[in-house]
């Protein structure tokens, strides 16, 4: 009971903020009389969402699948790869810059290659999501593991812990707060990556959100573009929320972030 109450109390602020923003937006659109193809009102978008709900939800499910799988792949690669890079100085000096360069390759430009390598459809969207999401996880993991308290490292060193053991029992738990931040950033990017991937991968009967967006843009249906974006944000936000919950669950008992937020909310 307590925690349900608490949950509702925690939701008040974000819901208020979103509601406030939507109302301001609605009023701004109504006052300025800007045409719908430039900036549709939230109300118009809501109507579109309702009217096209079948198409949007079907698309969202596909996009969510691609984004989620891509995100998981990126998380695993980012955390494991980042840990290896952090642990082995040679890799840090050689692979980290390489990973950085890969991060800077604009996906839209290589997406056609992805299609050729992976074929049309889901695999390409997954790969695109994973490619853009992996770097933040990698960077945050490296940062987190390189910043582990040197005193605790010495402790493990002394007891002759193997690299693997030290990673499992020290580096990984100690860097969870940093990794969670990386995952938070990656959650949003994975959705964007999936959508960009969908721009180049196939679309059959049930079009994913990326295709819905492209089609709507071509037809100057800005309201539908926004409706699809809203749904993609919902997908991303679910991923983000899941990561945040996981992070809270793992660190709230011991990490400074929870102490500091308690102190402040007093």
């Amino acid at each position: 009971m307590m925690s349900v109450m608490k949950f509702f109390r925690l939701m008040v602020a974000p819901v208020t903020a979103v509601a406030f923003m939507l109302v301001a937006w609605q009023i701004a659109v109504m006052m300025s009389g800007v045409s719908a193809y430039l900036l549709p009102s939230p109300w118009a978008i809501a109507q579109t969402m309702w009217a096209s709900s079948d198409r949007l939800i079907g698309g969202a499910i596909q996009t969510a699948m691609a984004a989620t799988i891509g995100f998981v792949v990126a998380s695993v690669i980012g955390i494991l790869g980042g840990s290896m890079i952090a642990a082995i100085p040679f890799l840090r000096r050689s692979l980290y810059p390489l990973a950085t360069i890969l991060q800077m390759v604009p996906l839209v430009a290589v997406a056609p290659l992805l299609v050729i390598w992976l074929g049309f459809g889901l695999p390409t969207a997954i790969a695109a999501a994973a490619v853009v999401a992996v770097f933040p996880v990698l960077a945050a993991t490296i940062d987190g593991q390189v910043s582990v308290d040197p005193g605790l490292r010495e402790l493990f060193l002394l007891h002759g812990a193997s690299g693997w053991t030290r990673w499992r029992k020290l580096d990984l738990p100690a860097s969870i707060p940093a990794i969670v931040t990386g995952l938070r950033i990656a959650a949003g990017l994975a959705v964007i990556g999936a959508i960009v991937g969908e721009f180049v991968s196939g679309y059959g009967g049930n079009a994913p959100l990326g295709i819905v967006i492209m089609t709507a843009m071509r037809e100057a249906r800005t309201d539908l573009v926004f409706a699809a974006i809203a749904l993609s944000a919902v997908v991303g936000f679910s991923l983000f929320g899941a990561v945040s919950c996981l992070g809270w669950f793992l660190v709230h008992r011991w990490h400074a972030s929870s102490v500091n937020s308690l102190e402040q909310s007093k």
Binding site: S35, P112, I211, R218
Partner: protein, 306 residues
């Protein structure tokens, strides 16, 4: 008309929807030969790209003139955009499907009933029409990213194309292609110069002068494209002069109406009406609108042509 001094020229911008190519040859000819200046206009031609939202830019007044396609004019008007068509460069739809020469498929209908993989922009209006006509359930549609690489290396791949552009490029890369035009099922005006409704009301003379000079430019360009293409190549080094010369030859029949050069750029109510009907039928736009306001014939000499 007296030749006005530089300072008195009216500055205007024309936003292209693609990089400089022969499909905009008339505008560059008018620029090169000083036809715009003679009309008192200082024209800035802006390159564009696949993602530049030309119709929206013109409707929102960001630019006075832009190149758009016919269906874009009507769809945007249906959403409240103040866009008006002025001049239709392509009288016949240059859009088509490009296949490898030795692909056994021999017609648009056969293509649509096959199980080919076909690259095309999502939301192309003629897809719904073709689906209606031929089914198309087995087709595997994939988005066309603007990159031709897939076509060049995949023998049974099919993609959308501009008859004057991609097939020429493919040929220059030693890949022979055949093309099925979609003209017969969907034939909107293409490479249409459009302006903003308000701008038109307030600058009628400028608009008329611009259209006049452009038309003259096209007459000159089509007569001697080799004279103007080098300047276009300079602006777009990614396309060879050779390709441009070939493209200029190919586009002539699509631009010059049967009535002859005097009709270049012309638009008729019937053509706009049938386009509108197709868009309503395929549910791209909701209801019919007043087509009279969707286009403006600045050059009455061309208006009556069939």
């Amino acid at each position: 008309r007296s030749s006005p001094n530089e300072a008195a020229l009216t500055p205007i911008t024309l936003q292209l929807n693609w990089v400089p190519e022969p499909e905009f040859g008339g505008m560059f000819a008018a620029l090169q030969d000083g036809l715009y200046v003679a009309e008192g206009l200082a024209v800035d031609i802006r390159k564009g790209g696949a993602q530049v939202p030309c119709a929206q830019l013109v409707a929102s007044g960001q630019v006075p003139f832009a190149i758009v396609s016919g269906e874009e004019v009507l769809t945007l008007r249906a959403r409240g955009g103040e866009i008006v068509a002025l001049f239709a460069t392509f009288q016949r739809n240059p859009m088509g499907f490009m296949l490898h020469k030795n692909n056994p498929i021999d017609s648009l209908e056969a293509l649509w009933k096959s199980s080919s993989t076909i690259g095309l922009d999502p939301g192309m209006p003629f897809v719904a029409i073709l689906n209606e006509k031929y089914g198309g359930k087995n087709l595997k549609m994939v988005p066309y990213s603007g990159a031709m690489a897939t076509f060049l290396v995949t023998p049974d791949y099919v993609q959308q194309c501009f008859i004057t552009a991609e097939p020429v490029e493919a040929k220059l890369r030693s890949v022979d292609a055949k093309v099925f035009s979609v003209e017969d099922v969907f034939n909107p005006y293409t490479a249409v110069i459009a302006t903003n409704e308000t701008y038109l009301k307030e600058n009628r003379a400028t608009v008329e002068a611009f259209v006049r000079a452009t038309k003259q430019g096209w007459i000159r360009y089509l007569a001697n494209p080799q004279k103007y293409n080098p300047a276009i190549v300079a602006l777009n080094p990614s396309m060879t002069l050779e390709a441009m010369n070939i493209a200029a030859d190919l586009e002539r029949t699509l631009i010059v109406p049967t009535s002859g050069e005097a009709g270049i750029g012309q638009m008729t109510m019937d053509r706009w009406r049938s386009l509108e009907q197709q868009l309503v039928d395929t549910k791209v736009i909701p209801v019919s609108m007043s087509i009279e306001e969707a286009f403006f014939t600045a050059d009455p000499s061309a208006a009556q042509a069939p």
